[in-house]
Structures are given as C-alpha cells and as structure tokens.
Symmetry: C2
Subunit: 335 residues, 2 copies
Amino acid sequence: MPTVLDVAKRAGVAPITVSRVINNSGYISQATRERVEAVVKELGYVPNTLARGLRSKRTKTLALVVTDITNPYFTLMARGVEDAAGASNYTVIYCNSDESEAKEENYANLLAQRQVDGVLLVPSCGNVKTIKFLLSNNINVVALDRRVSGVKIDSVRSDSEDGAYRLVKLLIGLGHKRIVMITGPKDVSTSVDRVAGYRRALIESGLGDNEQVYYGAFVQQSGYEFTQQAMTQSSKPTAIFGANNFIAIGIIKALRDLRINVPGDVSVVAFDDFPESMLVAPFLTFVEQPAYEMGRIATELLLKRISGEFNGGYQKLVLPAEIIERGSAGPNNGD
Amino acid sequence: MPTVLDVAKRAGVAPITVSRVINNSGYISQATRERVEAVVKELGYVPNTLARGLRSKRTKTLALVVTDITNPYFTLMARGVEDAAGASNYTVIYCNSDESEAKEENYANLLAQRQVDGVLLVPSCGNVKTIKFLLSNNINVVALDRRVSGVKIDSVRSDSEDGAYRLVKLLIGLGHKRIVMITGPKDVSTSVDRVAGYRRALIESGLGDNEQVYYGAFVQQSGYEFTQQAMTQSSKPTAIFGANNFIAIGIIKALRDLRINVPGDVSVVAFDDFPESMLVAPFLTFVEQPAYEMGRIATELLLKRISGEFNGGYQKLVLPAEIIERGSAGPNNGD
DNA sequence: ATGAAAGCGCTAACAT
DNA sequence: ATGTTAGCGCTTTCAT
C-alpha cells in the first residue's frame, strides 16, 4: 500500500504537504494541491487512520453503547447519533450491553483501547464504574436515555415521569381505577421514573391505594407473565401500563391467550411502539419518545465537548415526550 | 495515560516484555508475568490498539456492511457475525448501505482507512467495484446473502431459488393458479433468484403463462402499491408472494385497506418474518433463512482467510432455507 | 527467558 | 507556501 511518503516523492513535495492537502489544513497553492491530488488518485492512496490517530490523538470515532440494539427504539436513536456524527465526519462504533454490567465494562475497555474520542452511553444500571473508567481515560461521555448520579457528565433523556403521568391520567380520565403497571428493573432510571409518574397520577386522583407495580425486565416475557399474574388475582385491573414496547407486546399476547379483549375488557398503554414498517395494524396508545432527536442532540453535545467548543457546566437535557392515542386504550366498561 | 514504557519501568523490565505478557506470546516466567500484571493493574494501563495495529498490521477488526440494518433479518445476521468474531477476540464495525452503491463505496473507503482485517459484505447491487477496491487494499472480503460474479471471493447465502420454489409449490398445492410475485430490485441476486424459483414452480405445474412479477424495492411501500395494482386488474390473483418481510407487511396492509381477507380471499407468503418479540400474532407463512448461521459461518470463513489457516479455492456456500407454515396461506376459495 | 534497536505511517512543532 | 525533525505507542527482528 502506498504511504504519504510515496505520494510525496511522486509529487515532488514533502510528506507534510501531502498531509496538508488531505486534511485541508494550512496553506497550499492550488497548483500543489492539484498535483498531489492527482498522485493520490493515481496511486490509489488511502490514508492510514491508525497512524493518524496515533500521532494526532484524535480518532474521529465515537461509540454508542445501548442496552438492546434489537429494540427499534434504540435503532432509531442510533440513527440520530450516526447522522450527527457523520455530519462532522465522525464514525460510530455500536455496542450492545444486553443490560449487563459486565458486558458494558468489557466494551468500555475495548473502546478505551481503540482510543475513541467519546462515548454515548445508555447506562445498563445505576453503577457508574464504567463511566468513571472512561473519564479516567480522558474519554468524554454523555449519558443517553437514563439518569445517572454521582458523576459529572452531560445527559440527554426524555421526560419519563411526565410521559407516564400523562398516560395514566388519560386512563383515569377514561374511568379506569385499577391500573396495573409492569416495568423494568428497579435500578434503571427510566423504569423508576415511569413508576413515579404513574404514582403521581394515581395519588393526584385519590387512587393511591390502588398502586400495583410489577418490576421485571424490559422484555416481552415480563409483560406476559406479570399480566397472567395480574389477571388471576381477585381484584383484576381494567387497564395495564407497560413500561416499554416489548413489555407491551407481552401484555397483549397474554391478554389474547386469556381471551380478554383489548380495549373492550382491558386497556393497554405503554412507552414506545414499533415502526410502522413492522406493523400491520398499529393500535397501541403510547408515549413516543424523541429517540432520533435524543441521539442527535447528545452527539452534537458530545462533539462540542470533544472539540472544546463547549466546556461549560454539565447539561442535563430532558426532552418532552408525546402521547400518541390509538385504539388500545378505551373507556372502562367494567366495575 | 500510561504506556508500555511506564509499565516496563515500574516493573523493571523491557517494554517488549510487557508486550509479551499482554499478548500472551513468547516465553515469560511466571514471576515476571505476575509482576507485570500487577503494575498493569496498578497504573490502569490500557494498550493502545492504534499503535499496536500500526506496527503489527493487524487490527483485529472486521466490518459488516448490510443494506438495511433496521431489518431484523440483518440484525440477526449481525448477531451471528458478532458472536463468531467475539469468540476470536475480533471487534465488528457495522455499516449500513441503504441499498445505495455510493454509500457502500464510501464505507469501503472508510474501512480501508481504518485498516480492518476483513469485510463481510451484503452487496448493494451487482457492481463489484467496492469489492475490487477492498481486495486491492489487501482486505479479505466475504459476500453475504447475495451472489456476486466477476470477482474471486468466498460467499455465504441461503437457497433463495429453492425456498421460493417450495413456497410457490405449496400455494399451487393449495389450489392457487394466479399467483402474483412482488420482489425487490432487478440487480439484486436474492430478488432474481426468488423470481427464478417462482417461475420454475409455475412452469413445472403448467402455469407458466400466469407469471406476473412486480419489481420494486425491499420496502413496505413496494408491497403496498403493487398489491393495489394487482388487485385492481381484471384478472385478480388468489395469492401474493412477497420477496421479503417488509414487502409482506405492505401486501397485508394493502389487502386490509381493500377489505380483502387473508387467507380467506387471498393467500400471502413471503421470505423472512419478524421476531416474535415484535409480533402479537405471528401468522405469516414464510421461508425462514438461517440468518444467524449465515453470519456465523461467513465470519468463521473470513477469519480463516485472514489467519491464513485456509487459503484454498473460493467457497460458495449455499445454506438451505426452511418453510414455516402459519395461517396466511390457505386453500384457494376463488375461481 | 529477556532485551536493544528500529520502524510502522502519520502529523505537531518549529523552521524558512 | 512549504519543509525538517522528531516522535506518537507499540511490536518485529534479531540478539543474548
């Protein structure tokens, strides 16, 4: 493979001149630029980013660590990250922690070895060990989707508490009094915040005693199993709130298997849905989080930190979420 | 950040000894190993892969370039790639070409700059320019999912022709005679091969004159629009074959909007479905391709090429696909 | 079993 | 507007 030196010799200039042409830095006469560019093309020269990064201490690479890349919610977020990164000629490495702290740590190590310039992290849990490790390696970190405490970093998320509150108020407005919530782990902020919103709505409407929350994981199985449990109790709910899309699918499947009509017998609401391209008949009433925007904004913030363009106090951005009403939530026809 | 030199000094050894410990190469006495490892931990030393790659000409990095990462079919394939790569301590960079040749070329350039050791490529079209470029940069390439010609590389795909043939034979066995096919672009092998299987089944059953193929893209819209066209013709089909999952969703949506019952009035079959975690009521009769296995096998092959463990003739692996029968294909109740 | 020297390809720093 | 020198952090090669 040709190197800068090969190009330089052929073009009759010094290596640094080739470097300047390629990077569009410093002053270069038009004539020299054209000559160098011609040789680059002629030899099929491709700059070596390893050497470049080693010398310049900049790899122009970011990493996005999410907990579940199979969830279209995170796929969309990834798209926002990629678009913002690409606009600044940065590349993104995608990692999937599967909600496992061990995997998260492992990836953090790998990313540090690769000298990424920054990491966008959806923290797998409340533990900030990974974040501290990255920071100690001079890698900028922005927390995405979830809150973290005990560490000074920027964060971008959407308003889970408010979204949950409004969703539950909507149900209450439809006459529902026994609303069960099925959520994710206890140590994940989105899970906890959505419960807080649910609780606030209930209490505000004098239904505080009816609170019933099942903590599980953000997977279909949790939705399915806890729905079965909830529907076999003496006091059955008339509405179920799933804390994410996979849980919602599990809820709806369980109700279908129990031959319970949605929303005739039981209403279902959730956070996040699936893209229309994967859905034949969208009908879930849900909170739509601005996943793409979150990814984009977080990335822009991260890039500004990296470039030093922004070095002010740590930002905690909370974007508003929107309720999309479809058919899965109806009036309470029960008791 | 500490470097090998820092570790070496602290441990009272030469840098190369630290290198040997980290890479588990050469002979190291137990005592030295332990001393070095202790210092590595103490200083929080993280090896710099840029320097390593620059010197060793190996980055232990692969790339997977797919045409549409939002399609769960490719997500599953990516999983197979990641697992196989991880097992050999390789990292994977994911790229999405959006079926665009320009984007594919752009990524190829980026990957060459990053000195990846190998690329798993789902070719966006019949053009082998990208592949030739990668090969000319000494990067091993394995073609995934789709055939390419005019270039000597390994390829791993599943048997589209056979899958399509069996799917259409199934429909014919159910009494269908007017079967419309909606497929992807004309210059993509999976699209073409599935048409070939469809055609063979029709001809074999004396239905060759009934062939009707709509070429579009592997997206929902193609399924939707061509179904509308097909159902407003004088001679309406009693079954529709979508060449992938997104097309199938479009077909089913169009039929629903036209108030045509599936499978009562029209049967629908396709290639690929969506994971159960995203589906409330799976009902598509479809060809399931071994996406995970394809990813895994292709990666193992690529790694063997990279290591030089395998340097025989170029492999063209074609894995069998399986028909999953659900409810979307029923007997022909029409004329 | 360990080390010394050299260099991978590039660009920062400092000339001119 | 262009060039010289040096060195980023690591591992290859060749000793001992």
